[in-house]
Amino acid sequence: MRKLINAPEDVVSDALRGMAAAHPSLRVDAATGVVVRADAPRRGKVALVSGGGSGHEPLHAGFVGPGMLDAACAGEVFTSPTPDRILAATMAVDGGAGVLHVVKNYTGDVLNFRLAAELAEDEGIEVAAVVVADDVAVEDSTYTAGRRGTGGTLFVEKIAGAAAEAGAPLAEVAAVAADVAGRCRSFGVALAPCTVPAAGTPTFELAADEIELGIGIHGEPGRERAKARPAAEIVDAALTAIDDDLPVAGQDVLVLVNGMGGTPLLEQYIAYAAAAGGLAARGATVVRSLVGPYVTSLEMAGLMITVCRTSGALTGLWDAPADTPALRAGAR
């Protein structure tokens, strides 16, 4: 294992100390993994808290700041944070107007956030939760744990964060978050696996001419192994899976072409060209787009496409100012 780390057991705390040093706009507790915007708690503002396993950077701590998250809670690599830490993040940012938990749909995240919400309510803090489950590679049925939360999380955090910043009450912020989550669909492809530092070996092995279709963001293999193919065909397969699930014809859409961590921006733009063309060919109008590594899976090579069927009001919230380490928007 060749990694730019000091010791496998220190990767999360070492990275958080780096974030603290690089971004004075954040208050970072490297020991507990809790990252809070420096001006929290904001009196009377609904606070957004998200979190999950580490290894998806910049998600979630990179999205802490005005217009997005008030706090993020980082667990071990690919491991949900524990309830006491989520509670600490929740208490640190509650400004009296309640807290929205943005939770990606994984069994561990859902269980730990649910326990944390109960603890917060014991402390007199009103908590609402939105569970993001946007990955169409997983059947949403009683035969699975449900769809995974992936790239759609970014849209939920940005748009609901803007609603909260504008002064919306908790019920409305939660409704906006649920609305956005319901409008997002994602599909991911891996060209190479990743290595969890504590494990030391790749999460799966691929031959030189193979790819994985339908991956998540935890280094897990996908639904199907397939032969490598040109970017245009990979993107077309992803768009077809998304469009089959939530048709895009006649819709205004926000698009994220997301690098998984080990894929160069050059290739992400090659994919975006195919995505823009493919969406236009399917009758969608791309109103806003984002290209880059935003929701990653360590050094996995590959990409994920997320499409959000937007509305005028939601696009307005997408355009609203945000000032976080990893995403800035709007004139301030």
Binding site: G53, G75, E76, V77, F78, T79, S80, P81, T82, P83, D84, Y106, T107, G108, L111, N112, L115, A137, V138, E139, T142, Y143, T144, A145, R148, V196, A198, A199, T201, T203, F204, G216, H218, G219, E220, P221, R223
Partner: protein
Amino acid sequence: MTALDVPAWIARAAERIAADADRLTRLDAAIGDGDHGHNLRRGFAAAAAALPGDGPPGRALIAAGRALVAQTGGASGPLYGTALRRAGKALGDAPEADAAGLAAALRAALDGVRELGGAAEGDKTMVDALAPAVAAYTEAVENGATLAAAATAAASAAERGAEATVPLRARKGRASYLGDRSVGHPDPGAASTALLLRALADTAGEEP
């Protein structure tokens, strides 16, 4: 032995999990995200460290369960933590965990895991090891077996249950994302449950 030494069981469980952490993680890498053994090693080390010096065994289980929830993360922390806390609550303030008390405790642990995780037998989860273990233990005790003999029956049932997850298609947890590709691998959660019950049987079988 007529009662289980609960702190000795938790300490032994922590040792077994630590010794097998790499194997559990390899099982998890095949159909999950490759962290099960390492997370449980951290969690059970915390559980063993949280054991009170004395007091009723139910309290020890509750303390261990709380530590698991607080220190493990992932899904296995809340699930195993809830299992131990529910088992501890079932024992209440009884001065010792006798054969009948342990039956109620194991049943409560299974109910807690089912309730929180929503899994049923056959979903390829820890329930596939825990449910047959609880059934085997209960049946043995009802037939007049000693605690040690019943615990051995439970451990063997858990190991068979874990092995029987190999041909199953996962319906809960991260392995469910793989669909048919989860077939042919044992479930790591069922494997760790089997380890915990073998540790219980070995503890119960020791001369007092």
